[in-house]
């Protein structure tokens, strides 16, 4: 039973006991004012904070039975009604416990509302060629089944599949019951057999985050995995029930959050394509690998636990950023300093403003630190945008102005809103019209210094914006294992009974009037890397055996 329902029940029974005692007192004092006390049981309805519930009918009936004391002044009748009311209220417990529809969540109504809202307002429908009818036909039955059985996991999986279909980093669903969500994610990821599998840049697959017990078989970090249960790992991944789902993984310690699946850019999907394979199997899994001599071996590995406990730390290691707070500096070497940017916001006041002056305090602080570094010999800068969840483009503009060469840089164009039709205006070809431009002015505060933007697949939204805006500047190089996420339309959100949905809601165009960054049916977003850091055996050993930040090492090597 829910906490507040138990509280309401206890309140009701306590009220009945109090009224039983009061009946004697009221009879002796003979004042009609005591009648008012018999209205107290009515408050049980408000104590149950989630509103009325059919399973609580015995509680409500009990309150009405207790209310009969208001209409009579006979002591015995009042006491009997209090007893009967209390007994009636107690029936609430078995009814609530045995009723599968107790406090049922309206998953179907949630999905219908969200689907209708999204169909009307999702700005990338045409760009991504979304087949709304097919999506509805595929996922509404799953939602209906989830509602019928009140299965939170089924509801989550249906939403995970639905949101993944858009290949948009801004389309995501979070369940209100976070514990049920985590349990659903862990369940679908499968079992742990002592390793995770990652795709190398050259197309082979390798073990990462290996358990010590696998050393007996010669499997360590970097060992080439050729087959999983008889299939090439990326093909095996596609047989996972989690394939074609967008799962949210949260690290309890760092509270970093990743999304697995539904990648906007297909290159990022390929990068992570081996991961799901290593959770497949029952009590054992068959793994083929190349031993030290380069000969293929096959071993049967026992289940060790839940794959989530191996996968999440593996992703944390691969996708790590510098463990610093937002807008914090770290001196890397004599000539290089790194600015960690985890989110594009400075404070709540500036976040609500579109004026460049709102970020004066931030830029003053950045300038002060940059000047100190320059006076001490720093010439080059790394801006660590890994796992940057986005935020305000105006904050990005203020930051970019310090690092960009002098000049005026128009970047992004708003859509044009039709206030009568309540939609974004399009031309005769269905292309969104471009309105106000957002631009920034480079100050070259770093006096010609070089800038590395270090990114990963979780660099999203305003993070994508920064990459697109700065890539192509003569002093800027964008590097990472993967491209940034590839999602840059502005977002709207909808609160539902069982969770919350967000999706791309506001148009952003580039200078040619095309959608800014977001991938279309080709699954290629338009913000890319200048240099891809190879994910190879060396990278794996550095990350997982030495515990070092390989991507940062490569960034610094590029500057030397």
């Amino acid at each position: 039973m829910k906490q507040f329902d138990i509280l309401a029940l206890l309140y009701g029974i306590a009220a009945c006991i109090a009224l039983f005692i009061l009946a004697d007192r009221a009879d002796r004092s003979k004042s009609t004012g005591w009648k008012r006390c018999w209205l107290i049981p009515l408050l049980t309805i408000i104590v149950a904070k989630d509103g009325p519930e059919l399973s609580l009918l015995p509680l409500y009936l009990g309150s009405l039975i207790a209310l009969t004391g208001f209409f009579t002044e006979q002591k015995k009748l009042r006491q009997r009604s209090s007893v009967i009311a209390a007994l009636c209220m107690l029936l609430t417990v078995p009814v609530c416990l045995l009723n599968p529809r107790y406090r049922a969540i309206g998953y179907k109504a949630d999905f219908q509302k969200a689907f209708d809202r999204m169909r009307r307002h999702y700005v990338l429908s045409a760009h991504k060629n979304i087949d709304w009818d097919a999506l509805y036909a595929a996922y509404m039955p799953q939602i209906e089944e989830a509602e019928r059985t009140q299965d939170a996991a089924k509801n989550y999986y249906a939403w995970a599949g639905f949101t993944a279909a858009f290949h948009d980093g801004h389309v995501s669903y979070a369940m209100r019951d976070r514990e049920a969500e985590e349990a659903a994610v862990r369940a679908i990821l499968g079992n742990d057999y002592g390793l995770a599998v990652m795709r190398l840049t050259d197309g082979r697959f390798a073990a990462v985050n290996t358990d010590d017990s696998l050393k007996a078989h010669g499997i360590t970090n970097g060992t080439i995995i050729t087959k999983w249960n008889g299939m090439v790992p990326d093909e095996a991944s596609k047989t996972s029930p989690a394939w074609n789902m967008k799962l949210t993984c949260t690290d309890d310690e760092t509270e970093n959050m990743w999304e697995l699946g539904g990648y906007p850019d297909i290159d990022n999907e390929i990068f992570y394509s081996g991961l799901l394979a290593a959770g497949l199997g029952d009590e054992t899994a068959s793994v083929s690998y190349l031993d030290a001599a380069g000969k293929e071996q096959t071993v049967t590995l026992p289940k060790l636990g839940e794959y989530a406990d191996r996968l999440f730390p593996a992703m944390e290691t691969i996708d790590q950023g510098l463990p610093l707070g937002n807008l914090t500096w770290q001196r890397m070497d004599k000539t290089t300093a790194c600015l960690r940017v985890t989110g594009m916001s400075y404070d709540s006041k500036s976040y609500a403003s579109d004026k460049p002056s709102a970020y004066t305090e931030m830029t003053d602080q950045l300038k002060m630190q940059i000047q100190e570094y320059m006076d001490d010999g720093v010439q080059d800068y790394v801006i660590d945008l890994r796992n940057n969840g986005g935020g305000s483009p105006h904050m990005v503009n203020a930051m970019m102005s310090l690092f960009a060469p002098e000049g005026h840089y128009p970047v992004i164009y708003d859509g044009v809103w039709d206030d009568d039709a309540k939609c974004w205006k399009t031309d005769e070809n269905g292309k969104y019209l471009s309105g106000k431009v957002t631009s920034f002015n480079g100050e070259d505060f770093i006096q010609g210094g070089r800038v590395i933007l270090l990114v990963n697949a979780n660099t999203v939204s305003a993070g994508d914006y920064m990459v697109k805006a700065m890539r192509g500047l003569p002093n800027v190089t964008v590097i990472g294992f993967t491209q940034p996420n590839g999602s840059c339309q502005a977002v709207g959100g909808l609160t539902l009974d069982g969770g919350a949905l967000s999706f791309s809601n506001c148009v952003n165009n580039d200078a040619d009037g095309n959608i800014f960054i977001d991938s279309g049916t080709d699954r290629q977003s338009t913000d890319d890397l200048d240099v891809q850091i190879p994910f190879d055996e060396q990278a794996i050993r550095t990350l997982f055996d030495d515990g070092e930040d390989y991507a940062m090492q490569q960034a610094l090597a590029l500057l030397r």
Partner: protein
Amino acid sequence: MTDIMKTQIRQLFRRKGIFQFPLIALLITLVLSVLLQSTDNSGRILTASAFLGQFALFSCAVSLIMPGCIMDVCCSDDFTDKTINHELTAGMPRIKVYFARILPGLVISLLCYALVLAVPFTLLTFMHGWGTDIPLSNVLLRLVLILAAILRYSCFMGMIAFLTKKMSACLTVSIFAALACYSMAMGASIPYLRGLMTNPYLLSILSIGNLSQFDAWYTYGSSLKYNYIYYPALSGSTVAGVVIVSLVMSAFWLLLGYHYFRTDDLN
């Protein structure tokens, strides 16, 4: 009974402190809010329907104070000066004494509430037109449903008046009700209040809070100016539910109030 009703009405309109001043203050507050908020944050001139979409809840919530004032004057005041005792001693049946106070209180509550809501929006319609954000027919439907909820609310206030027999008891409860209505409708961040708001029939103030808020969506650009789109349609079950529950609960509160008064020793 008719004489008592006329007396209540006369008494009400003569009361400066607890009727005229609050009514005028409320009207001034709402008119000023209309005049001072002439544009929304996207710089558009606010038409009446756009203003309604964004500020209807505030108007409906603060106006809840008026029925409390009115029921205090019509019902509670005559306990304080023993007028009711004199009427009963003179042989007037209790049922007539009760309804002679409740009925004018209910009617004037409904009229005052409708007036307080109508004045600012009528003013804005004359100034900037109705607009296209929300259809007038939907607003009128919601007004009727809100008045049904106000009927229920006023009956509850009447019951409070006869149960407490204290001047200002209804006013006190109505102030809390106004704050609660506004807070609950805005209280998405407070889980307890958010839970209560999911059911519009539980309390009259929840009905009013739900009906005075419009399901809205918004888009924006780099200048962070919002463009609102409203989804004002009400389901048949909501309409029927509000009406039925309001009528049933109105009768329930009237019954409770009358039963208590019927057997009250008036000490």
